[in-house]
Amino acid sequence: MKVTKLALLVGLTAAIPSLSHADTLQDVMEKDVLNCGVSTGIPGFSAADSKGVWKGIDVDFCRSVASAVLGDASKVKYIPLTAKERFTALQSGEIDLLSRASTWTATRDTSLGLNFAGVNYYDGQGFLISAKLGVKSAKELDGATFCIQAGTTSELNLTDYFTANNMEYKAVTYDTSGQTIDGFKKGRCDAVTSDASQLYGLKLKMDDPSTVIVLPEIISKEPLGPVVRQGDDNWFNVVRWSLFAALEAEELGVTSSNAEAMMKSENPSIKRLLGTSGNAGENLGLKSDWAYQIVKQVGNYSEMFDKNVGKDSPLNIDRGLNKLWNQGGLMYAMPIR
């Protein structure tokens, strides 16, 4: 008797399928909430305001996906992650989507079991330095000490840049961007180096922003975008096309304020985008009004950009490379048809 029971136990243990998240889209729909990994506080990208409301262009992307999948932009649970924690959190299934100013690199895309779904911000690495040092160019930074956040591409680019220019430097590496700027404020380092967009945010965190300057040099390409787990193509499609939908909406002139009126538009592209014709939503496994919900509840790409980092925000960053392709930028949505 005993032996049979034991054998049964062994059999049962072996028969339990291994736990894995194969179908994130279905998981998210069942949970009715999107677990979105964001930063611990990068102004303009993802930062909680004084009331604890998360804001930023990366946060808006989380909200876009939630609108498309769940029909409600507020059904997002934000999980703040340091640069070090972010990929492990995604790999382990703690979050469904990582939208945290992460640079798309070959190593990350191929060896971490992750996929970058696109680019929502074209950035480059720059330097923030105290104005009173009188430095005008990064080439004058020989021998300087830099504060950097651990586990970023900035650490690697800095080495590349200084090696290529035959200059010396010292690096002090901190865990969070808060500690990094704190170290700079206390004079532990001469300059901070990070993605240029973040430097504008850090500048605002200084007691007197006019005491620091951002140097003109950009020393690297930093395409920032949302990341998902590899091997879940459905979910990958949903995330990628949520990004394209916001860009397409900008190109077609659909905004959060005119989206409702646009539903009656006769323009075939707009009709396909908003789901009044075609079956883009159905093919993604979503409702036909998925893109309408994104634009209505969150806005098109230019609205997200202007509100969080662009002309309507304290950062006031020029759109530059992030303009649409037909306006001289790199932002290009694949056609919805």
Binding site: T13, S18, R108, L156, T159, D160, V172, K186, R188
Partner: protein, 394 residues
């Protein structure tokens, strides 16, 4: 209570208590192994499904990031992740060893001070112990880091001593010795001096045992240790020179720099751990029977002789086991340095490297193995010391 064993009425295998005990232990063992197997299997399965790279081949890849304190020849552009691992390991060992030394000295002094008859000394020791023991170590590390950074001036306003030692918020800069050819002779002469002192000590102890005559051991030893290498230094034509730190551009170039992160971490760890060591020392001293001290006093021994020759040797037997624990704690607490960016093993390897490479399992396993090894080595070492100290044959 009735201790008579109950008669075994069944004849089955499990009715024998001995067999039963073994049987259930085997079942428990199988359950544990199955569980572990299940989790491991699950992990490998998921890793494969996601296409995450596995294995230790990443250790040969170029790391390509800068580190603020390296004890080995680390090059930002060409060194590998394995070099990063070594750098992190050495930095952990550096802060642990220095911390253990300072904490032991401070702990011993405060522990003795706690028992002092001087009201001020004993109360100050008490306040020190109670304050620093009851504040979490992480807060103390952050506190000292902020104090160190806030109190020190910028490089251009450095405090300097004789234009060769500088202190600023980039660290403490001291001249770096450069060993030219011929400096080996100085090292050899120093080793010979140490050996001479060793035999001199044995000889003087024997003489003391035989004749009771005191030999000025400390003075003579010091003279040998200092004079011999100095003499050779001049004979060999002064082969050691120094590179002085010099302010160039943003920072000082040349010289040895002790970074503020190390200073802050060392302060925090030593001050925190010393409180526990002080309590262990006090407990040890109080455990020595009062009669021992009184007997020593009756013989007319001086207070410091009583402490060093009568009380401490006996107290050490009580002190060592808890102190081992504190040394281990200090070593493990050094990983909190990640909060202030001191480049030790956890910051560098399971922090930066993990993020650049993304192979969490391998990296965390390596890091855990290191702490396990360090802890086991320290325990074995001090257990050996403890065995040496134990009362023999009584």
């Amino acid at each position: 209570m009735n201790n008579k064993q109950l008669p075994i009425d069944g004849k089955g295998f499990l009715n024998n208590p001995q067999h039963r005990a073994v049987f259930f232990q085997i079942i428990a063992l199988i359950a544990v192994i199955l569980c572990a197997f299940y989790f491991a299997n699950n992990m490998f399965d998921n890793i494969e499904k996601r296409g995450i790279t596995t294995g230790f081949s990443f250790l040969d890849n170029t790391a390509g990031f800068g580190i603020s304190q390296t004890l080995t020849d680390y090059d930002d552009g060409t060194s590998t992740y394995f070099d990063v691992f070594i750098v992190g390991l050495l930095n952990t060992l550096l802060v642990s060893i220095l911390g253990i030394i300072f904490a032991s000295i401070l702990g011993l002094l405060v522990g003795i001070g706690r028992l002092s008859n001087n009201f001020l000394i004993s109360k100050l020791s008490l306040i020190y112990i109670e304050t620093f023991r009851n504040i979490p170590i992480l807060l103390q590390i952050l506190f000292w880091y902020n104090v160190v950074l806030a109190a020190l001036p910028s490089p251009r306003q450095s405090m300097s001593y004789l234009d060769s030692v500088f202190l600023n918020n980039r660290g403490l800069l001291i001249p770096e010795p450069i060993f030219e050819s011929g400096s080996g002779a100085i090292l050899i002469s120093f080793i010979i001096a140490v050996t001479a002192v060793f035999y001199l000590t044995r000889w003087s102890r024997k003489r003391h045992d035989k004749t009771g005559e005191e030999f000025p051991l400390i003075k003579v030893s010091l003279a040998i240790l200092i004079l011999a290498p100095t003499l050779v230094y001049f004979i060999a034509g002064q082969p050691i020179s120094a590179v002085y730190p010099e302010l160039k551009g943003f920072n000082f170039r040349g010289g040895l720099a002790i970074i503020p992160e190390l200073l802050a971490l060392l302060f925090a760890l030593s001050i925190y751990t010393a409180t526990y060591i002080a309590e262990a020392v006090r407990a040890g001293i109080e455990a020595v029977p009062k009669g021992q001290k009184e007997a020593a006093k009756a013989l007319g021994l001086k207070d410091h002789v009583i402490l060093s020759k009568v009380v401490l040797p006996q107290a050490l037997r009580v002190i060592i086991p808890p102190v081992i624990n504190q040394f281990l704690n200090l070593t493990k607490n050094s990983s909190l340095a990640t909060a202030i960016g001191y480049p030790e093993l956890v910051t560098l390897f399971s922090g930066t490297t993990l993020n650049q490479v993304g192979q969490a399992i391998e990296i965390i396993l390596m890091t855990m193995a290191v702490y396990l090894t360090i802890s086991i080595v320290i325990s074995l070492l001090l257990n050996w010391v403890n065995a040496k100290m134990a009362i023999k044959g009584r």
